[in-house]
């Protein structure tokens, strides 16, 4: 080994690394640990890492979805279970709709020549530059008084699709540009119509792009609070809104809130894990001479 490479990094470098890890992983650790404690332990002055772990908080949060009745629950509040179902439906459906519309729009923007193509491409990105908070009041007004879809899941899905579509179009455009045009020509020669070419040749090749866009869209839809808070009602509330709503001036059940937070973190992790397996590089390897 050469002498130059033997230089040891500064200890401050390790200190910085540890600080960064603590900053990012610390809150998650606190959340998980707290979710496993009874309120007595959470509030006690001597609280620390020494406690008897319990799943009581999880039982409380999921009480209406369990096959048994937990002994410690006096009154089963179905709010969280309902919110979890809402969140899953809204995130999955809005992701699916965004991807379907997004990939077709991106394909059209890349491959078709029409008047105002570049302007349209740019406008889609400009939309994304508007902060959601700015949209809040007009969207609430339109959704409530014109469309009458406030307080419904489809209302929230619609606004998420509108919000995520521009960015998905932009991500997918960059992937579609890389698909060699000869592949599409070969498909046409092989007898494929425009839709067959798109679905059987282009889409499989841009699968990594679709996966990246899906992760992005799903996470935004899953975590979004502001618009969901304004547009949802009791029956269509998503998990982030539910968690905030459970912070009342009479009672803050930290254990249940942390258990809910932990449960909230699981679906995006699973989704990201599944989707990221599709993100493999070199998808077009061997298609055309590089």
């Amino acid at each position: 080994m050469s002498v130059g490479l033997d230089k040891r990094p500064n200890p401050a470098f390790y200190a910085l690394l540890v600080a960064l890890i603590l900053m990012s992983a610390g809150p998650i650790a606190v959340m998980i640990i707290t979710s496993l404690k009874l309120n007595v332990d959470i509030m006690s002055e001597t609280a620390g890492l020494l406690f008897v772990p319990t799943v009581q908080n999880y039982e409380t949060a999921l009480c209406n979805m369990l096959w048994y009745e937990p002994a410690h629950v006096d009154y089963c509040d179905p709010t969280f279970g309902r919110a979890l179902v809402n969140s899953l439906i809204i995130a999955i459906v809005s992701t699916a709709i965004t991807l379907v519309i997004g990939c077709m729009a991106a394909y059209a923007l890349v491959r078709f020549r029409f008047l105002g193509r570049d302007a349209m491409s740019m406008t889609t990105l400009l939309m994304r530059m508007v902060p959601p908070a700015v949209l809040l009041v007009p969207v609430f007004g339109i959704w409530t008084f014109q469309f009458g879809i406030d307080g419904t899941r489809s209302g929230i899905i619609l606004v998420y699709v509108a919000m995520n579509l521009p960015f998905v179009i932009w991500i997918l455009q960059s992937f579609i540009v890389q698909v060699p045009i000869q592949l599409e020509e070969a498909a046409r020669m092989d007898g494929a119509g425009p839709l067959q070419t798109f679905f059987l040749v282009v889409l499989p090749v841009i699968k990594p792009g679709l996966a990246a866009a899906a992760i992005f869209t799903f996470r935004i839809a899953w975590n979004e609070f502001l618009l969901a808070n304004a547009l949802s009602d009791r029956s269509s509330r998503t998990v982030p809104v539910t968690i905030v709503n459970s912070l009342t001036e009479y009672d803050i059940d930290w254990g249940v809130i942390m258990a809910t937070g932990t449960l909230l973190a699981i679906p995006p992790i699973i989704f990201t894990f599944i989707a990221s397996r599709q993100i493999i590089t070199g998808m077009t390897a061997g298609a055309v001479k590089g």
Partner: protein
């Protein structure tokens, strides 16, 4: 198998006309090669026949039916692309069967055809592999297999060998020629490589700037080029062009250059009846110089390139650089002075203004 006819075919991009008034007839089961330098419109012509480019004017007739407005899939053509264009997410078998699956052939027949073609192209062991796991030559064979499986009436090849290295190209060229003997179908092949054109084509169409310079058998093009472009394009090393005057020596027509004097035979001289005492271009193939110690052409060799059986010598004649091909049995060194003669029946004559053969 159909007869393909191009009738006044035209292609323009905006104001730029790439191909103007192209007329060509390809006979039943003929191997036609379109050849020419880059940008001569040969690929565009092929893509118009394929239906991948729109036609700006004229017609493409297959068996008398105008197909110029039809979609590619309705023309019954199969095409092999220059850079393979294999579907990267499908394995070899699925790549080859894509067209058949789209056409909803029964599964048993698809398997049968794929197996047959794969065996013919030595691809049987690779049917489960993805294109990314194949070498360049194997990918090229898959691209060909994809066209062959379809059993289309006409095959189009767009410079299929240009991405391969020299050795593989020679091997694939031979395989193509063998395949050609087994499959008697219309084939249209585009290349810029005149050796490929000569070895594969029943008929060669030499193109330049969107126009056909000459169409004919390889022997025709080599033996009787109709103009200087074809003469210079076909043959390697290319033909030498020397400026000479038509002179008359004691009633015998003679070509006179600055350091060259060549008496012509009567047959050749008859062609020059209208060109007496005018300048013309003399074309001589490098291999037509005959080493002859009694010859009248005296060449100072500037460069001798040994290429195996032959040596290519570079010298100067009539103020122009000339290439001479001689047998390498007698080694020649640069700086030597050698004498050559010419057989007047092997020369070519061109009009310097129209560049047409005389």
């Amino acid at each position: 198998m159909p007869e393909i006819r191009l009738d006044g075919l035209k292609k323009a991009y905006g104001h730029v006309t790439v191909i103007e008034d192209l007329n060509l007839q390809m006979e039943d089961s003929e191997f036609t090669v379109l050849v020419g330098p880059s940008g001569c419109g040969k690929s565009t012509t092929l893509r118009m026949i394929a239906g991948l480019e729109t036609v700006s004017g004229g017609a493409i007739l297959i068996d008398g039916k105008d197909v110029s407005q039809l979609e590619p899939k309705d023309r019954d053509l199969a095409m092999v692309f220059q850079d393979y264009a294999l579907y990267p997410h499908m394995n070899v078998a699925r790549n080859m069967s894509f067209a058949l699956r789209l056409a909803r052939y029964p599964k048993a027949e698809i398997d049968d055809r794929v197996k047959k073609v794969a065996a013919m192209l030595d691809l049987s062991p690779y049917l489960d592999r993805k294109p990314g796991e194949l070498s360049g030559g194997q990918r090229q064979r898959v691209a060909m297999g994809r066209a062959l499986v379809r059993d289309a009436s006409t095959f189009l090849f767009d410079e299929p060998l240009s991405n391969l290295d020299a050795k593989l190209r020679g091997q694939m060229r031979a395989e193509l020629a063998l395949m050609r003997q087994r499959i008697r179908k219309n084939m249209i092949y585009v290349t810029h490589d005149q050796i490929e054109a000569m070895t594969l084509g029943d008929r060669i169409v030499v193109m330049r700037q969107g126009k056909i310079m000459q169409a004919g058998s390889p022997e025709d093009l080599y033996g009787q080029p109709q103009n200087m472009f074809v003469a210079g394009f076909i043959g390697s090393p290319p033909m030498n062009f020397l400026p000479v005057e038509v002179g008359d020596e004691n009633g015998r027509i003679t070509l006179v250059g600055s350091d060259l004097q060549l008496a012509l035979s009567n047959a050749v001289a008859a062609r020059l009846a209208n060109h007496k005492s005018r300048s013309i271009i003399l074309g001589v193939r490098p291999s037509h110089f005959i080493r002859d110690d009694a010859g009248s052409i005296d060449l100072q060799i500037a460069l001798s390139e040994y290429i195996g059986a032959q040596s290519v010598l570079t010298s100067e004649l009539c103020g122009r650089p000339v290439h001479v091909e001689v047998s390498a049995l007698k080694p020649v060194r640069a700086g030597e002075q050698l004498r050559f003669s010419l057989n007047p029946d092997t020369i070519h004559l061109f009009d310097p203004e129209t560049e047409a053969a005389l």
